[in-house]
Every structure is written in C-alpha cells, then in structure tokens.
Subunit: 171 residues, 2 copies
DNA sequence: TATCTTAATGATAATGATTATCAATATCAA
DNA sequence: TTGATATTGATAATCATTATCATTAAGATA
C-alpha cells in the first residue's frame, strides 16, 4: 500500500549516507526540466551503495525487494538518463550485456580494470603506478589536439584469465 | 553452381596477398583437429583485407557478394572460433553489437582507440607517445603479479565526441 | 490543499544481436 | 572412392534492450 513512501524513505530519509547522490541527481534532473521521481532515486541509490558493477537486471532485482512495483523498462530508461547525466558509467566486459557503476567523481575514484575473459570477474584498481596518471593526461591532450575529439573519459582494461580460471584451464 | 570453388579461388588462389592469414588459420585449425573449410577462409580473408572494424552482419554481406550460399550463423560461429584462436579481436564500442578486426600481430600493429560516443566512429592510432608502450608493459607485469591474472591483451579507449558530432552538438 | 497539465511509469510488444537445433553437406583419412 | 563425422545453412530460440501506450504521479498553479 505504502510502498512508494517506503522506497522514498529508504533512500532519502537517512541523513548523510544517501544524500550526496540524490543531491547531484536532483540538481541534474531539475536542470533539465525533468521531474524527480522515486524510481530515479532508487536506481541512483542502488548504484551509489553497490560495491561492484551491476547489470540492469540485477539493479531491477535489488529494487524489487523493497519496491516491487518497479518496472524493468524504467530501470533501463533511468540508466540511460543517469549515464547521460554523468552520474553512472556504463561498461561492457564482453558478456553481451552492459554493467553500471557509480560515476568517477569526488567520491568514487577513477579506476581501471582487470577482466577475466572466461568468467567475467572484474577487478577494479586505483593504485596506479608512478607517472601513470600523468601519461594518460598527456595522451589525452595529444589525441584531442590531433584528431579534434572532445575526450570525456577513457577506458583501460587488461583482459586475461583470473587465478581460478587459470587453474581450470590447466586441468 | 561452382560458387564454392569460386570462393576458394578468390581468397586462396592469389599468391601472397591472402596467404599469411590462411597459413596461420590453417595451422591453428589443424592443431585443434578441426577441418579447413571455405567459410572459415572467407571470414578470415575478409577481416585480413578490411581496413576497419566490421560487424558480423557486415562480414556476412561482403562474403555473400561472392559466395551467396553462406549462412549468417556460420559467420558468427567462425568469428567465435577465430577470436579464440587469436586470429581476430572482438571489440565493443557501446553500439550494442560486436565488431571485429584482424588480430594484432606481426602484420597488424597494436593499437588503441578513439571512440565517438554519439556516432560510434572509431579512430585507431598506433603512434604512441614516448614511454607509452613501456608503461603498459610495466603496468601489466605489476598487475599480473599482484592479482595472479594471466594477462593476454589490453584495451585502451578514449571516449568522447568526434569533430562532426561536436558541431552538431553546438547547433 | 485541490486541481490540472503532462512527464514518467509499468506492462508488454517489438526489435536486434547472438546462440542453439538439426537435417543435409563437405572434409579428409583410409 | 568411400565412410565417419565435423561443419554448414536455415531457422527457431534466447537474451538484452527499446518502443508503445494507457495509467499514474510530480509539481506548478489556483
């Protein structure tokens, strides 16, 4: 009966923990003359609190636990919106479906990835070695100059086999 | 009537130009106890001669011009095989479908990419700046040591807007 | 606070890429 | 040349994602 209110409470009511995302979300939404809705807060909130990459279906399942009325289409629509707004980042690891994570910004550090091409386990890392960040900055400026691109972000993935899949391979 | 023979001729008959890929293909196929077939030569040949990234559908269309009997499913199956064999590389640029290119090896230089997130134009570049290659080598060794991964390749993409799409954006 | 406009939603049909199935065909060892 | 069987082509099935559309709800206004 009161599910919508519950959903709202869960992600908006607690002070501090979920505020940052919702503030940024709220600003972006309002800027575009759009409406702030519970599904939008829920999707943003789930990704804000997730500790890895989630697929649309996974986000949908998580939200349904507290807000069973949500529709899968809304989750997809919202993810497109949040991606465009720069609040989440979409990745593709070769599985045949997209995965999402809270965008790199003040709170979530920029990261690169180690992807297992067999089980699709993904390891994020942010402990770049010396000169690594500096190099990307330099490459970006050279490339945008040379090709006239406006570069917004970069994706760096190392593909191979994770420890578990290496073992399986040997057997 | 003689289409199969024609197909074979087109990609196998000319000396030199198509040999390298077919040799590598032949070796890999035989190694695995598999059979060398015309469709496999055709798919490998098309990618060997392509100058950009092709989707499965595009490869299928190109082959059909000379070999109308080919099936789309065979193209897909063959691409999986060639990818596993390391003869081609699969990429995903966010379009919702995979694209393929002849693998980086002696002939095709290793490259990174500049991807337009609006029209999906992709620019390959191989003119890395100083220390760039060296850095990736170092990062790979650090990562594989630290996480126990067997790293096979890496993907580096800079996403943004190409010159054309930047103009459209402003209007 | 009640009302109204219309953006957003949820259910579901449609689409598009890729994979599975299976009878017919082609490879290649003998 | 023949026979075992890997591979193919046609097509059905699947899976992720998008489009459609009647219903609902956000939020400006009275």
């Amino acid at each position: 009966m009161n599910r919508p209110a519950e959903g709202r409470d869960q992600f908006q009511g607690r002070p501090g923990r979920h505020k940052p995302c919702c503030m940024e979300l709220e600003g972006g939404i309002r800027n575009r003359g759009m409406r702030m809705t519970i599904p939008r807060q829920l999707v943003a909130g789930v990704l804000e609190n997730a500790d890895g990459y989630l697929s649309a279906e996974e986000i949908y399942s998580i939200i349904r636990e507290d807000y069973p009325a949500i529709g899968l289409a809304t989750v997809y629509r919202t993810l497109v919106l949040l991606d465009e707004m720069g609040i989440v980042n979409r990745y593709n690891f070769g599985e045949g479906k997209a995965r999402y994570i809270a965008a790199e910004d003040q709170r979530a550090e920029h990261h690169h990835q180690l992807v297992c091409e067999r089980c699709y386990k993904v390891i994020r890392y942010t402990d770049f070695i010396e000169d690594e960040r500096e190099l990307y900055r330099k490459v970006e400026s050279v490339l945008s100059e040379k090709h006239g691109f406006e570069i917004k972000r970069h994706i760096v993935q190392f593909h191979g086999l994770c420890p578990d899949c290496r073992k399986l391979q040997k057997e």
